[in-house]
Amino acid sequence: MSLTETSEVFVAVEESALNDLITAVCTTRPHLLHYGSPAFVPASSTSATQMAPIPFPGSPGLQWSVELRIPQLDLFKQDLALPPELSLGAGQFSLSTTVRLCVDCASRGKDGKEEPHPDDPKHDPNDPNHDRGDEPWRDDRDDWGKAQHPMCCRLDVFAIGHLVSTWAGGQRAIGFAVDSVEIVDIEPNALESVIECLLTMVLRSVLATLSLPVTALELGAFTLTPTVGPLIDVNRVLARGDF
């Protein structure tokens, strides 16, 4: 069977090369995988993308950050283990990564002082400085990049997705769309569902910014105008088209 079949040009990229390309993009532009509010990301840079705090009444905004490890893709057929909830179908890829979620668990004490616990002997409910819950949180915008009490967790995330045709820099490109996400071992199930939903949205947003021009798939060896694909074949992405 010919490679080009009825077309003039054939291109195939093994999943190792696809992961190399993704690694190159994410290593050179790590901000694609790292987002956070000012307490965590003092300014947008190549390393991270600054975003707004989550607005919430009575606070200057909830400080947060999301950071993903460079995702590892496994093209159908399945080579990497997946949670039983996910199965890799023809034409799909699986994605595994680790997501680090952080919030700045800010004190509500004045001037950033910790409020003594009610059981603490130093706790005086008659103290005029006692936080009655009606004082606004301190606006710590002067402390950007200095999360006061960062609390973070790491979650291993698995996803199933498919390729989409898109454009990057005026060139035809392939993009990555998420179909479903699974996080392992979170109880109760409702919490797992909420976090999975949250991370699905995060992954979709992150992957929407990650695309690879078709020229990169064939290193510019031959000019390809795809008429078939790019699509996932067995452990590779292939495309056929006109010269």
Partner: protein, 267 residues
């Protein structure tokens, strides 16, 4: 197994070589050589146009009917005396009574050396086999088709035409020489005979063959540091991958023959 495979079929290879051969443009060279008994200076140009591409596994690209349009400007010194003897007619005097001596003039004709310019063009067709060659030069992987061996160029009828053109050029070049008229046809014929087919092919072969032999036809070039994405903003520098290795071959994948480029990369 290579990480990246790019292949084109014979139809695309035909388009590729049509483009690449046309992009070569005219080639030119000049020098001096021998044309039969003459030393000639020459300036020659040649322009290739593509023939029919046939991919032959494992590593041959045959181009049948590769056409070379060539034009040559020759110039050589012709000593007419080498072909027509100088004429020396001594003075003859006759004594005539009552008149005295009557003498004929002494005639000495020493034929000059003249410059004969010849301008001629024609085309030929040949079949060449290209080998697929790979090189890494100044950070760029180059895949090229290189003509294998020295093709035998058949000049055919053009050599006879060129001989005729030389005869005409000789006649034109010596037309100004006094008293050459009766000898013109003899001179032109003698020069043409002295050169002969062998003399012409002996000149044309070595100066025109290099336009074909050793010619490198670019197939593709890939920077060893390949740009995946261009820079697109202050936080988005250009993204590169390193092309570790590259290969090129002709594969017979029934029912087609395909020109295949193989590559491995790392981030």
């Amino acid at each position: 197994m290579s990480e990246i495979i790019a292949a084109i079929d014979e139809g695309a290879a035909q388009q590729l070589f049509d483009t690449e051969v046309a992009a070569l443009g005219p080639q030119a060279t000049s020098g001096s050589s021998s044309l039969g008994p003459f030393s000639v200076s020459y300036a020659v140009t040649g322009t290739l146009s593509n023939g029919t591409v046939d991919l032959i596994a494992p590593a041959t690209i045959e181009i049948a009917d590769l056409r070379l349009d060539w034009h040559v400007d020759l110039s050589f010194q012709l000593d007419i005396g080498d072909f027509i003897p100088d004429i020396h007619i001594p003075q003859v005097c006759v004594h005539i009574p009552c008149v005295g001596d009557v003498c004929t003039p002494k005639i000495d004709i020493v034929w000059p050396t003249v410059t004969v310019p010849v301008s001629f063009g024609d085309f030929l067709k040949t079949t060449v086999d290209l080998g697929v060659a790979l090189s890494l030069v100044a950070g760029v992987w180059k895949v090229e088709g290189i003509v294998q061996g020295v093709p035998s160029l058949q000049f055919g009828a053009s050599t006879a035409a060129l001989l005729a053109a030389i005869g005409l050029a000789v006649a034109a070049a010596v037309a100004w020489v006094p008293l050459i008229g009766p000898f013109l046809a003899v001179l032109a014929g003698a020069v043409v005979a002295a050169i002969g087919i062998a003399g012409l092919t002996g000149l044309l072969g070595p100066i025109i063959t290099p336009f074909v032999s050793g010619t490198r036809f670019p197939i593709t070039e890939i920077p060893a540091l390949f740009e995946v994405l261009p820079a697109s903003g202050p936080f988005d520098p250009a993204v590169f991958v390193t092309v570790d290795s590259l290969g090129a071959e002709v594969q017979h994948n029934p029912p087609e023959d395909e020109l295949v480029v193989l590559a491995d990369i790392q981030p």
